[in-house]
Symmetry: C2
Subunit: 351 residues, 2 copies
Amino acid sequence: MSWEDKVRRVVPYVPGEQPKQKGIIKLNTNENPYPPAPEVERLLREIDYSALRLYPDTDAGELTKELAAYYGLKPSQIFVGVGSDDVLSMAFLTFFNSEKPILFPDITYSFYDVWADLYRIPYKLCPLDDSFRINPDDYKQENGGIIFPNPNAPTGVLESVDMVEEILRANPEVVVIVDEAYIDFGGESCLPLLSRYENLLVVQTFSKSRSMAGMRIGFAMGNEKLIQCLNDVKFSFNSYTMNLPAQVLGAQAVRDKVYFAETCGKIIKTREWVKEELKKLGFDFPDSKANFIFAAHRHMSGGVIFEALRERGIYVRHWDKPRIGNYLRITIGTKEEMERLLEALAEIVAE
Amino acid sequence: MSWEDKVRRVVPYVPGEQPKQKGIIKLNTNENPYPPAPEVERLLREIDYSALRLYPDTDAGELTKELAAYYGLKPSQIFVGVGSDDVLSMAFLTFFNSEKPILFPDITYSFYDVWADLYRIPYKLCPLDDSFRINPDDYKQENGGIIFPNPNAPTGVLESVDMVEEILRANPEVVVIVDEAYIDFGGESCLPLLSRYENLLVVQTFSKSRSMAGMRIGFAMGNEKLIQCLNDVKFSFNSYTMNLPAQVLGAQAVRDKVYFAETCGKIIKTREWVKEELKKLGFDFPDSKANFIFAAHRHMSGGVIFEALRERGIYVRHWDKPRIGNYLRITIGTKEEMERLLEALAEIVAE
C-alpha cells in the first residue's frame, strides 16, 4: 500500500508545440497573428498596480457587462472562465450528470473525450460523413447531453443555424453545448436561438478572434438558469479565478469593435487567398470558416509534409489518427507568413 | 424529464464581502495592506503587449524557476495554479481517491468540505481542542488522506514542524497536504521535511504575504513524483491556466526578497501591537502567527460587534457556526487602519 494507489490516473492532453526559437513561423495553435486592440495596450500601462493586493471582483462584473452589451444579453446570461477550456470543462461537470452517453463527433476538439473520462461521463462518438459534415440524425438517439464545435475543429467546417436548431428541437431534455471558438471568422452564430431554447449553451473565447490567448478568457452564454448552475459549481471550486488584468483588458477588447472587425476581416481575406493557392499546389480541404485550413495533399502524406515544414522552421499541426492522418491543420497567419508557407509547400510538393 | 435533472447540485461557497464603497476599512479577507513590490509595477508597464496574442507558457517556466530557486528546490518540484484554491482543489482531485475518509480539523478553511463533497470524497472531521490546537493522535486512524492549514485558518494557530512530522510518520500510505497560506507571517515552514517524506505536499499562495490576491497565483511544493501527478491531472483539464501577466509579475515578486521580508515584518509588528491592544479591550484570542487575529470579547457577542463595526464602515469576518460564533477574524491592515479599528472597538465594547 502506498499513496500512489490513491492517485487519479489520467491520460494528459498534449498541447501543440510552443517552440521558443526566434524566426520560426508558428501556424500550429490557431493564434491570431495580430496583437490585441491598441486601447488594450494603453489600459495595460494604466492598470491600478496597487489594486493587485486585493482579491479581484468574483463576478468579473465589468467584463461580463461588456460582453452582455456586445451580444445583446443580460449580464446574468454570461459566465466567464480561464479560457474556454475552463468554461467547457465546468460545463461538462455541471450539465453532463446522466447514465446515458453524451454525444459528440468522432473528429472534433481533442479535449471532449479527456473531460468525459476525467468526470466519468459515458460518451458515444457520432462519425462525421466523408465530407466531414455532421449528420443531425445521429443526435436524435437517447443521450445525456450533446456538444460540438461550430465551425468544427480541426476541420473548419461550418454547420448552419438550421442544423443546430434541428438538433436542439430533438433534445429538449439535455443541455446542448455549441462551442463557437471560431465563429467570428465568417460563421453565423446560433446565439439568436438562445431566446427559444433554454437548454442551449454557447461557448466562445478571447484566444482566437480577440487576439488574447495569453490572457486566458473564455465565456459561455445561455439562459439565466443555465448560467446560475455554472456559477454555483464554479464558486464551489474557486471564488476568484479571473485576475485583475484579465478583467480589465478583456472588457476593453470587447469595447474595441472596429479593430475586432478589421482583424477578423483581414484573416478571412488571407484565408480565402490561401485556399486558392493551396488548390493550385494540389491540396484538398473542406471549406473552412475558421482561422485555419485543414488540408491534405493529393499525392504526399501529411506526416512527410509536416516534418519537411518543421525542418524549414514552419510549425503546423498534424495528428497521427484514423481518418485525419493525412491532413495538416494550418493556422492563418499574416499575409507574409502565408507567403513563406506557400513557398515552402511549393518546394516540398515538387520534390 | 428535463435538462435540469442532469445538473450537478452543489452548495456554493460564499466568499467574504468585497464592498465597493470608498473610505471603508477592509479587514475581512486577509489581503495584504501593502502593494506588490515596486519592481512588479515597473514590469507591469513593460509587459510585451503584442505577446498577449500567443498562448502563455504552459509550464509557467519562469515563475516555477524563480520559486524553485527561492525555496531551494528543483523546478520539477513546483506546481503552480490560479490561486491556492485551484492548487488545493486539483490536489484533492488528484490524491484523494480512496474509499476511506480523508481527515481535517473541524474548524478550518471552509473550502475543504466543499471540495470533498464536489469530488465525492468521504471525510471525517477531527475536533480541535479547546485552545484550537490539533491533536496529532487524531490523525493516526485509518484514512484516505490528510489536509490541514498551518497556521490554521481562521484561528491563526501555528503547529510545530515536529507535530507535522509526527503526523507524516504515522501516514506513509496517504498524501498529507499542509496548507501554508499564512506561513510567512512568523511561522516555521515544514518544507525541510520534503526531502524525507515523498508523500508531503506543501501549498502556499501569492495572495497574502506576496500582496498579489488580484493576480491569482498559488503553488504546491513536493516530491517530483507528486508534482508530476498534479501536472497530469491539470493538463487533462486545461493546458493554459496561468496568463502572461501572472507569470511575469509573479516571477518578479519572488525576486524582490527584501521588499517581501520588509512587508511581512511590518505586518508582524502591527499584529503584535494589536494583540496587546485587543487584550486591553477585553478580547481573548489564540496566539496568531498569521496576518489576522481570531478574537472573541469576554462580554459581548461576536455577531453584535461584527454588525457595529460594519455600521462604522469596518469590515471583518464572522461565521455563525458552532464553536466559533463568538469570534471575529480580523485581518492585520496598516497601522492607521488598525488604530481606527481599535478606536471603534473601544467605543463598541464601552456601550
